[in-house]
Symmetry: C2
DNA sequence: CTTACGATTGAGACCGGACTCACATGGGGT
DNA sequence: ACCCCATGTGAGTCCGGTCTCAATCGTAAG
């Protein structure tokens, strides 16, 4: 007795051809919808195909056309809804253009990323969208480029790699939001990011992530414009996991001259910082002001709701897919990318610092 | 002049063979690490491969081995961190076993799901893990099974499909948490789910999602055990988007005999319900008690932190991958699946209902 | 009644590997 | 010295499609 779950051989063009009493070539033409086929033959072939439940072997097809009609996406952390939303933008656009999308998650691990790129290249995807992990290693991406596969970067630039990058400009919004904090009276503004790096932050140092570099750059611009001194010890990187995030947050809030406002560079950091603030018994925004990148749905639920910097993530994803597809279809042509702007969404987590409130109260008292 | 980004032909075994002065067969053996190859030949071949930067064409390999060393995952909503975490469980396990993982997101759309399954089948994945969208349509899954590809379902059962299902049992924890609400004094307990369905909920009706069916079943068991009457109008499905979720929540909280406790079936529903509660000016848990499925990091940040039902999502994902890999390696053998239990995590969103607090106060007054 | 040209058709090469098979080669056993 | 069998090797087939090329067919033009 034959096990029904054993892998029976799929029906092939040859099978269909035999059933339809035509040559393999004719059957292939009728099925692939190319070349010249008489109505009679086409009908017989399609009927036979239907009858035998024929499914083309896409692998074989890809092997000698070189096209797979598939685009590959490599993403650092799929648990981050930021990428989830971007994925939807990518998928929707790709699907509309007739491309399938396959995704590989790397967990922000460089080795996994290299592997993911290899796998997708091996599966002969027509193009790749990569959100590179924070790392200065771009050899694997150069390989994609060298192999002649279109590549578009998402969210992060790769210095020295001539490839379209789709990302929101962070400098401007970083400057604006820092200016807003300064206006509110803050002088000690901290920035915390998960970005992995060897040494502590120093001005002018090379950062692997252009996003983070821009955010810091914008912040420093605002500080300088206000005549303030950008303070290196308030920029904290390497906040990799929940524990180190909380440790860093505590340190910043308990130092001799503590930070009065904290900017969290992503959702993970935000979670840790807010928890640390709560554990220290501090209140937002009375004792500490808080600002975070990315507008997640839950940021509206906290008390107070959190002031965030929102990016048009879906559109950025869609635009990345669009750019890639254009690259695939017209290899030579230069790509023009739209510019995306992030915006500050005022909610309730930014207020005047304690010292500022005291100052106002005193000046009010002096005036009366 | 040749455009450097034009797709140059990759080097093949034949090229390597020629360079190493051996036959194609020998080169293939040396590279594929099979058959008998003398040290001399192996060295020359590997050197030539290195020299020519040879990369095997996995497609060609897959075509005549039938194995791709890849497992495909189809997930409804990658934006939901629930699936994100499960993905990590799947990826880690698969990677450790030497399998690549590719993922397709369907946005809970049935057509997209059918398509995703087709694509993965066409790419000849060795097996599939599917979290089926809430739908009674399983034809596409049956096709997977019929094509002889191992299949494991994640989170949801498919009635009438003889396939391993990896999911936590929801009945027990649903009963326990409902019992806990009843003990706290609640009599009007509402349940809200995104599950898509034609008509309003009625007892005994067929539900497309086994998870939801189990949750309701457990809830009803607890109510009956406490001598209470499970109330159909408090079970609300079709809470598809933010607006309908909030509308339903408002309705439940403003009805003549309002719900005093609300159970949200997933993170999306939770977001909407909490927002609706806040907008109505009600307080958790003083005015309404709240309980939700899935323990997301942000549930600890709200005031009060939310009481949740936590599932070992990572482990469930890992177990699904493990089961699938066993199916791939030993097609005949029956699979034994571990049983996963969800647990209630007491935090701060459940309290006594207003009526109960009044009753206690009065009885205390009477006693004094 | 030819001739020519476009539409059809089938045979077979080819994509890039894996694998079968027939054929050397040579060391160990007797 | 002779046989046996394990190891090495190359030629060629196969996987399931696409695509080239030459042959065939019909028919409208000359």
């Amino acid at each position: 007795m034959k096990n029904s779950s054993s892998r029976q051989r799929d029906t092939t063009v040859a099978d269909v051809a035999k059933a339809a009493q035509v040559s393999k070539a004719q059957a292939a033409r009728a099925l692939g919808n190319y070349g010249a086929v008489s109505d009679d033959v086409r009908e017989r072939v399609l009927a036979a195909a239907e009858e035998l439940n024929y499914r083309p072997n896409e692998l074989a097809r890809t092997m000698n056309t070189g096209k797979s009609n598939t685009i590959g996406v490599v993403v650092g952390d799929i648990e981050n809804p930021h990428f989830g939303l971007a994925m939807r933008g990518i998928s929707d656009t790709a699907k509309a253009a007739g491309f399938d999308v396959i995704l590989i998650n790397t967990g922000e691990d460089h080795v996994a990323e290299v592997d993911a790129v290899r796998v997708l290249l091996e599966k002969r995807v027509d193009g790749l969208i990569v959100a590179p992990a924070s790392s200065a290693e771009y050899e694997h991406l150069r390989r994609v480029h060298d192999a002649g596969r279109p590549l578009v970067l998402f969210d992060r630039k790769a210095p020295g790699l001539d490839v379209p990058v789709v990302a929101a400009d962070m400098t401007l919004v970083a400057r604006e939001s820092t200016a807003y904090l300064i206006e509110s009276g803050h002088r000690r503004i901290a920035f915390i990011s998960t970005l992995d790096i060897e040494e502590p932050y120093r001005h002018g140092m090379e950062l692997a992530s252009s996003q983070i570099a821009e955010r810091i750059e914008g912040m420093n611009q605002a500080l300088l414009a206000a005549g303030l001194d950008p303070c290196e010890e308030l920029v904290r990187l390497n906040a990799g996991d929940a524990d180190s995030i909380k440790a860093i947050a505590r340190e910043l809030l308990l130092m001799p001259e503590p930070a009065t406002a904290v900017i969290a560079s992503d959702g993970l950091v935000a979670l840790g910082v807010v928890e640390a603030i709560q554990e220290l018994g501090l209140r937002i925004p009375q004792d500490v002001s808080f600002l975070m990148y990315d507008d997640f749905p839950w940021t509206k639920l906290t008390t107070p709701p959190l002031t965030v910097i929102s990016q048009p993530v879906y559109d950025i994803g869609a635009s990345a897919a669009e750019a890639l597809i254009r690259l695939i279809r017209q290899p030579g042509k230069a790509i023009e990318l739209p510019v995306f702007q992030a915006t500050l969404k005022h909610r309730g987590s930014v207020g005047a610092p304690v010292s500022e409130r005291k100052r106002k109260r005193e000046s009010a008292a002096a005036a009366s």
